[in-house]
């Protein structure tokens, strides 16, 4: 059935294959396709488990999803501070060979959780944007420090934290990182001029800004949604998606399906990430080497228990479009629920960043980091509880 999809037109395909290793990191392949030499093949089964293979003819069963990726090296420029667009970091990274000591490679999990649902390829720009978001939020939270006029000692500490963060979050190995002047690519003066023009346009439109009604503020650790331009993705993947979000049986009732809100896609992708990544992050947290002490041990156990409960919560999450059986949820309610999912996904991103810090922490850092873990868990639970709530925020009890 895939013969007519754009993905398989010879010219587009040849271009994409040539691009592997420079502008394109990974490309989806079907059974029987050739993976070009120098690439690595990853096959995901419907349960999300991955196995790697050598380049050549791809063999996979029906229902499996196969990708081939090029290990690199890749070079990207990222901006560590949104307020300083002309001052950047040039990273060179590779995707390493499989680590035999772990049951699941982190890069495979990244592909499976964040690329598979909506894309049939992973452009370098998308990974770079995600990396930039992770670095910016780590710097804003104080997990990494890159102050002005960085001393050499501070730079080494930053590099170590950055390497660990990107390895833990994306499974890429940074082998070089230098500060770089991006003045040739970005002109901050032009950015400011564009803002002035935009402000003038807004003033002419003279629309009173609609007051926002936030449920909870959700700015935490959220990089801008880096959904790529639709024109960038030719063709729809021919292989049917593996739906991993649990659906309650009530959704098959005969009532009319509620209209899909624009938030539906983001909500499903967010829940899918939570479903796939929460067990992985709690497994990695369980493997940490704890400093001696009963108090830390108990906090660590409580953290793992809460993550397990959150994972169960995600597994049984009700569908987006229904407030109750036979009672569709309106678009604003769906947008509210999608916002709650965003809070939970933000907490998941923080959990990966926190894991990276815990892996490098000394004994003295643990209490503060576990306090941060407590906060992350509370945010995760809040997001999931709001996502599950049938009718908006619970009313304040009279206290």
């Amino acid at each position: 059935m895939g013969w007519f999809s754009l993905r398989r037109t010879p010219a587009a395909l040849a271009a994409a294959v040539d691009d592997l290793g420079t502008g394109l990191i990974a490309l989806r392949r079907g059974a029987g396709d050739m993976a070009p030499p120098g690439t690595v093949v990853v096959v995901f089964n419907p349960a999300g488990q991955a196995r790697r293979g050598a380049a050549g003819k791809v063999t996979c069963a029906s229902g499996d999803t196969a990708f081939c990726f090029h290990p690199g090296p890749y070079t990207v420029d990222i901006t560590p501070f949104a307020a300083a667009p002309e001052w950047g970091l040039r990273l060179r990274f590779v995707i390493d060979a499989a680590n035999p000591h772990v049951p699941q490679q982190r890069f495979d999990l990244y592909l499976c959780a964040e690329v598979v649902p909506d894309l049939d390829r992973l452009p370098l720009t998308r990974l770079a944007a995600a990396m930039q978001g992770a670095v910016q939020s780590a710097l804003a939270h104080g997990a990494l420090d890159l102050p002005p006029c960085t001393a050499l000692v501070e730079w080494h500490a930053f590099r170590a934290g950055l390497n660990q963060l990107l390895y833990t979050r994306f499974g890429v190995t940074v082998d070089d990182c230098v500060p770089v002047d991006l003045g040739d690519q970005v002109d901050f003066a032009a950015v400011l001029q564009a803002r002035a023009q935009q402000a003038a346009i807004d003033e002419q439109a003279a629309l009173p800004a609609a007051p926002l009604q936030p449920e909870l503020h959700s700015m935490s650790a959220l990089p801008p949604p880096d959904v790529p331009d639709v024109s960038e993705v030719p063709g729809v993947p021919g292989i049917p998606e593996v739906s991993v979000t649990a659906r309650p049986p009530g959704t098959q009732s005969g009532a009319a399906q509620p209209a899909a809100a624009p938030a539906a896609g983001a909500d499903a992708a967010g829940l899918r990430r939570l479903f796939l990544e929460l067990p992985a992050v709690s497994r990695d947290l369980r493997l940490l080497d704890l400093p001696a002490g009963q108090a830390l041990f108990q906090q660590h156990q409580a953290l793992l228990l809460r993550l397990g409960m959150a994972s169960l919560n995600v597994d049984t999450m009700p569908t987006l479009g229904w407030a109750a059986p036979d009672q569709p949820l309106d678009a604003s309610g769906q947008a509210r629920r999608a916002g709650a999912t965003r809070i939970a996904v933000g907490a998941l991103d923080e959990a990966w960043a926190l894991l990276a810090r815990l892996q490098r922490a000394e004994a003295g850092d643990w209490p503060a980091l576990l306090d941060d873990a407590d906060r992350m868990c509370a945010n995760l639970e809040t997001g999931l509880a709001l996502r599950r709530a049938p009718h908006g925020e619970p009313r304040e009890p009279a206290l």
Binding site: P80, F81, A82, A83, A84, P85, E86, W87, A140, H141, G142, A143, D145, L146, P147, P148, C149, T150, A151, E154, W155, P179, D181, G183, F188, A189, A190, V191, L192, R195, A196, A199, A209, P211, L212, P214, L216, H217, S218, M219, S220, A221, I343, G346, R357, A361, D365, A368, D371, D372, D374, R375, A378, N379, T382, A385, E393, P394, E396, P397
Partner: protein, 338 residues
């Protein structure tokens, strides 16, 4: 690894506001475990509409924070009800909400911060962007919540950044003074020489010349930024002697033009140079009192920059004490990367 910890914070904070009718209203914030309650709860005697508006304002202003913490509920209350059309209390509510969560003022900030109540007036229609109208905190005017730690407004066409420098005036009057650099983009080559595009209202003629010369020299060293900007430099306290503000001025200019890594908190710098076109930083006078002042006032996320010549003369434990407060220090011979 310097994350602000919530463990040892006060559970109450208060912020005052002078209303237009001459009364002073005190906004009191207290923090308690959230336990599945709303994140913000507000109460105003006999004015539920104002309480509702206060909750909305505080929630919108929280959109500008990076750190989401849903563990605590903040309860805000006013001791008297402002008139219905009166909106200048909004900034006081936002600041009280931040104080009780340790976000403002920086812990260990102003001496006796727990006893002296802050006083703030201001209102806004764009709290979600952090922009404030007619706002004063203490006796300092701000246009954006980020200006409290010197950051530029990310939505504004004018990039204004503040940096602080220690002013030594005989012990008891020592203070951190700020310098603000605002840059606005102009067409390339529109404004004659670089020094003519730089204005420093409030300074005497010699001071203006000094500021212009410093900035033009530092931009030469930078290589970019010549002929692209119209610049206004303002000082919080325009009556001072000496050139120890120069490093703060130069760093604020680099930050405002988006060409420097951004500190999480304030940038506190002292240092001058006779050769800014080479980026060299030279020593200044008054080392001991200035170091003592900085050690007392630096808070979480602050970045302290000192002349490289002070490296060996720092009192023992100075860097460690700053690190304890969440700040970091560097003694530099040159500006720029690494």
């Amino acid at each position: 690894m310097t994350t602000l910890s919530m463990i040892d914070l006060p559970r109450n904070a208060a912020c005052r506001c002078l209303l237009a009718d001459g009364r002073t209203v005190t906004v009191t914030a207290s923090r308690r475990p959230r336990a599945n309650r709303a994140d913000v709860k507000c109460s105003v005697p006999n004015a539920p509409a104002i309480a509702e508006r206060m909750q909305q304002v505080v929630r919108l202003a929280r959109h500008t924070e990076t750190r989401l913490d849903s563990r605590d509920q903040v309860v805000l209350s006013m001791d008297l009800a402002p008139d219905a059309g009166q909106r200048h209390w909004e900034l006081a509510a936002v600041l009280a909400d931040r104080m009780v969560r340790g976000l403002y003022p920086p812990q260990g900030g102003a001496p006796g911060a727990g006893t002296v109540l802050a006083c703030a007036q201001g209102w806004s229609d764009r709290w979600h962007l952090g922009q404030v109208n007619d706002a004063t905190v203490g006796d300092t005017a701000i246009g954006h919540l980020g200006a409290l730690s010197g950051h530029a407004d990310p939505a504004s066409a004018v990039s204004s950044v503040r940096a602080w420098f220690p002013l030594h005036s005989g012990g008891i009057n020592d203070a951190l003074a700020w310098v603000e650099v605002s840059v606005f983009a102009i067409e390339e080559g529109a404004g004659g020489g670089e020094e003519e595009t730089i204005a420093a209202p409030g300074l005497d003629l010699a001071g203006q010349q000094d500021v212009r010369h410093t900035l033009a020299g530092a931009r030469h060293f930078d290589g970019r930024g010549l002929g692209r900007w119209r610049t206004v430099v303002q000082f919080g306290q325009p009556r001072f002697h000496g050139g120890s503000y120069q490093l703060a001025l130069v760093m604020a200019d680099r930050l405002a033009r988006g060409r420097e890594f951004v500190p999480r908190g304030r940038l506190i710098a002292t240092g001058m140079s006779s050769a800014w076109h080479a980026g060299v930083v030279e020593t200044v006078e008054g080392r001991e009192p200035k170091l003592a002042l900085i050690a007392g006032l630096a808070g979480p996320g602050d970045r302290v920059l000192l002349p490289g010549a002070w490296q060996d003369a720092l009192p023992p434990g100075f860097a460690a004490a700053l690190g304890q407060a969440g700040a970091s220090v560097a003694c530099i011979d040159r500006i720029g990367m690494i």
